[in-house]
């Protein structure tokens, strides 16, 4: 069996929904032992979110939960009880990393903040993920994924295009912004882990979701106001010509021709139509200027081809076409199949289902699946009896008291 990159790293996760769980999934999928704490009874909020397997609203069948919690162990624990706090403190003694996403101040109220953690385990790293971070005037503000996405500067510009001015700004599809925050938290935490290896010291990692998203738009959004006083709005087209345009079968294609040579190849690919010789389209600048007219002419040609045909034909001719893929297109993609991007995972409640694997392929320590997402409290016995040494009777008592 291949080695795991993060073998031996112990992580405790006290998070819900997407950002925190994605952060620790990235670690669990590379071999870290991630123990996920859920509230007894209801568990992670993601368990109540669609998509559900065969649309059965069962907390063990949420695709969102199943995807975000692969390779983790799951325990239930009510940390609001005294006995629960004691157990939590027992658990953190043995860990390398704690990831939590409670509003600022909650962990402190419960006597489980970084100060306490450091006393119990000076080498541990604590990563806290919140909408606006641990400091500043908005630290206690509430924000759901929609609000988070709008807080980072990209929402205001989504979707770009003058035709969208006057319509509400949008979030990106699904929970994209939350995944982004989880990845950013994982980067910071891995940096802290590396430093711990050389210094033997842990630290506190404050992740603001807003800053995580601003980081993705530093270049052409955030600094452009700071340095040029240039306010960006949806009125500025993302792509003045080309971009996403209609094609055959009421579908869409996408391409860009930043480089003049790409434009020339596109013209030749279209069979050198007369209109392409027009002065209006003679160079990049004039094509930008007459983008609307140009797009209309391009579409007349594009609608003769499917998005698949345009993608492969364009690439063969050196014109950077892409595919406007649906989920189905992704699953059907020969390219992704050959790269084994989708993997089948067997879960006791759903049977085998295909999941996306990982954003990377490591030659030495490949991604791998050791276990599907845990059932609620699936590893209580293993953790509480096996690791913490509670007896069977004590476990029953804790269960009856609503602690686990």
């Amino acid at each position: 069996m291949a080695e795991s990159a993060l073998a031996g790293v112990k992580v405790l996760e006290y998070c819900q929904m997407v950002a925190g769980p994605y952060c620790t999934k990235l670690m669990a999928d590379l071999g870290a032992e991630v123990v996920k704490i859920e509230k007894p009874g209801c568990g992670d909020e993601a368990r109540r979110r669609p998509p559900f397997f065969h649309d059965i609203p069962d907390p063990e069948m949420s695709g969102l939960f199943l995807y975000l919690n692969t390779n983790k162990l799951g325990i239930t624990l009510n940390v609001e009880t005294e006995a629960g706090k004691k157990i939590f403190k027992g658990l953190v003694k043995e860990i390398d990393i704690l990831v939590e996403d409670n509003p600022p101040g909650v962990m402190k109220e419960q006597g489980l903040d970084y100060q306490t953690l450091r006393e119990l385990n000076p080498r541990s790293i604590m990563t806290s993920i919140t909408p606006f971070g641990q400091t500043g005037p908005y630290r206690d503000y509430k924000a759901y994924p929609l609000n988070v996405f709008q807080s980072g500067g990209e929402g205001y510009l989504t979707p770009s295009g003058v035709e969208n001015v006057g319509r509400p700004p949008l979030k990106a599809g699904g929970f994209l912004g939350e995944y982004d925050c989880g990845l950013n938290a994982a980067i910071a935490t891995m940096g802290a882990l590396y430093w711990r290896k050389t210094s033997e010291l842990g630290q506190f990692v404050d992740i603001s979701k807003q800053e995580s998203l601003m980081s993705l738009n530093r270049m052409d959004v955030i600094v452009r106001y700071a340095n040029e006083r240039k306010l960006l709005t949806r009125a500025q087209q993302g792509v003045p010509y080309g971009g996403i345009l209609p094609c055959k079968d009421d579908d869409y294609t996408v391409f860009v021709t930043w480089d003049p040579r790409q434009w020339e190849r596109l013209v030749s690919m279209m069979g050198n139509p007369d209109w392409a010789k027009d002065e209006k389209f003679k160079d990049h600048g004039s094509r930008f200027e007459h983008g609307e007219l140009l797009n209309a002419l391009l579409v007349e040609w594009l609608v003769n081809y499917t998005k698949d045909e345009l993608y492969h034909m364009g690439q063969a001719k050196g014109v950077p076409f892409g595919m406007v893929n649906t989920s189905k297109n992704l699953l059907d993609s020969k390219h992704l199949k050959e790269r084994e991007f989708f993997v089948e995972i067997d879960h006791s409640q759903t049977g085998k289902v295909k999941y996306p694997s990982a954003p990377h392929k490591f030659s030495q320590t490949p991604w791998r699946l050791d276990r599907p997402a845990p059932l609620l409290g699936e590893h209580n016995e293993e953790m509480y009896r096996g690791r913490l040494g509670y007896s069977k009777e004590e476990l029953v008592r804790l269960r009856n008291a609503g602690v686990i």
């Binding site: 599809g173 982004d180 950013n184 430093w195």
Partner: protein
């Protein structure tokens, strides 16, 4: 103190995706050497982005914002001598990063197998559009085409409207995935002494951020499409127009308690007590009408006022912040999200601070992006021990070009 003190990264990346990765690592204190050449310039230095044709000024701002804290050398990889020097640099580096199309580094003689010969524990990561293998591995890709290829564009947009091109942020997302992979590989090398090769495909990295949407298809055969700002459960859940030009606030309500708090904050207008808005499901079913009624209230306030009023009532409301808002925002200012560097030609320039606060190793923005070839002396002279004469000779031969 810096988390990655002592780590040296040889950076062959350009534009956004790769530079985002190495910039985050430079913020953590790694010594990042950006390899450039006039033969193959980082085009961010000069012009076009998806936001339009840049002026020199924007280029400096944007290039600077992606390359602060890095050192810069010029090395002409189309000359054999240039490749040989690159190899000498690999020997004293920990990580090599590129975002060329698959196969380019191999062709230059700088592929993983060749580099491993020179430095057995080297970590090599190639962040390409489509990955290093597979029938489309040689296909080209840009930010504009990556969002659509990943599946994210298809699910972003107004219901019934066209799919949405995601901004250059898709490249940054790929860069973040690369930064994470490099850090994991560094941790592993620390424990085992082993390097490795990481193949990162931008489109796959992006598709991983819509796993739940993909699983609706693999579990239920459902192809999700564009749904605006709608949520599967929550309503109200939208952006609402506020006082002023093109000002908006996002409001999301997840339960009855928040709904009642919202009604009260709006002054309990009569419509809020109507039967069709009496429970979460009926509010969800009638959200279009409800949204226009809510907007009658939000339009009478600025986006900041709505945030303040509703947050006081414990309702999630956050303006749709523009880049202007963020620059002037008191929260961002208190957290020092933007900091300045002194650029030798352009003077004071803003860059974004590290997107995390590490208590023991905070990381700092220490220098602006390098001028072209600014650190040739340090890298070739000090690190490789070449004499002034040698350096001058190679510059004349266009090896440092």
């Amino acid at each position: 103190m810096n988390a990655l003190a002592g780590i040296r990264i040889l950076d062959f990346t350009r534009i956004v995706a790769g530079p985002q990765a190495t910039m985050l690592l430079a913020y953590m204190g790694a010594e990042v050497i950006k390899v450039e050449s006039r033969v193959y310039l980082d085009t961010l230095r000069t012009e076009v982005t998806a936001a339009g044709v840049g002026t020199e000024k924007t280029a400096v701002g944007m290039f600077n914002s992606m390359n602060a804290n890095k050192l810069g050398i010029t090395l002409n990889l189309s000359s054999p001598k240039g490749v040989e020097l690159a190899k000498r640099l690999v020997k004293i580096s920990d990580v090599v990063v590129d975002n060329f199309r698959a196969g380019v580094m191999d062709k230059l003689g700088l592929g993983y197998l060749a580099l491993k010969e020179i430095k057995p524990d080297i970590i090599v990561i190639t962040a390409s559009s489509h990955g290093a293998t597979g029938p489309e591995s040689r296909y080209s890709g840009f930010a504009v085409t990556m969002g659509p290829l990943s599946g994210l564009s298809y699910v972003t947009g107004y219901p019934g409207g066209p799919p949405t091109i995601l901004r250059n942020s898709v490249d940054s997302r790929c860069g973040n995935a690369a930064a994470f992979a490099i850090l994991v590989a560094l941790n592993y090398r620390h424990d085992t002494g082993k390097g490795q090769f990481v193949d990162l495909s931008a489109r796959e990295a992006l598709s991983c951020s819509m796993g739940d949407i993909i699983m609706d298809y693999t579990m239920n055969g459902r192809v999700q499409s564009r749904n605006g700002n709608r949520d599967d459960i929550m309503a109200p859940h939208n952006c609402y127009r506020c006082k002023g030009e093109d000002k908006w606030v996002s409001i999301a309500v997840s339960n009855d308690e928040e709904w009642e708090a919202l009604c009260q904050a709006m002054g309990n207008p009569e419509w809020t007590s109507e039967e069709r808005f009496s429970n979460q499901l009926s509010r969800w079913q009638n959200q279009e009408e409800m949204d226009s009624l809510i907007e009658e209230w939000t339009i009478t306030h600025t986006h900041y006022e709505v945030m303040e009023i509703l947050q006081r009532a414990r309702v999630a409301a956050v303006p749709s912040f523009s880049n202007e808002d963020l620059f002037n925002d008191p929260h961002c200012q208190e957290r020092e999200c933007l900091v300045t560097v002194q650029h030798p030609e352009k003077g004071e320039l803003y860059v974004l601070a590290p997107p995390w606060k590490l208590s023991a190793t905070p990381g700092r923005v220490t220098r602006p992006a390098p001028m072209l070839g600014e650190h040739n002396e340090y890298v070739f002279g000090e690190l490789l021990g070449m004499s002034q004469d040698e350096i001058a000779k190679l510059a004349k031969e266009n090896v440092f070009y």
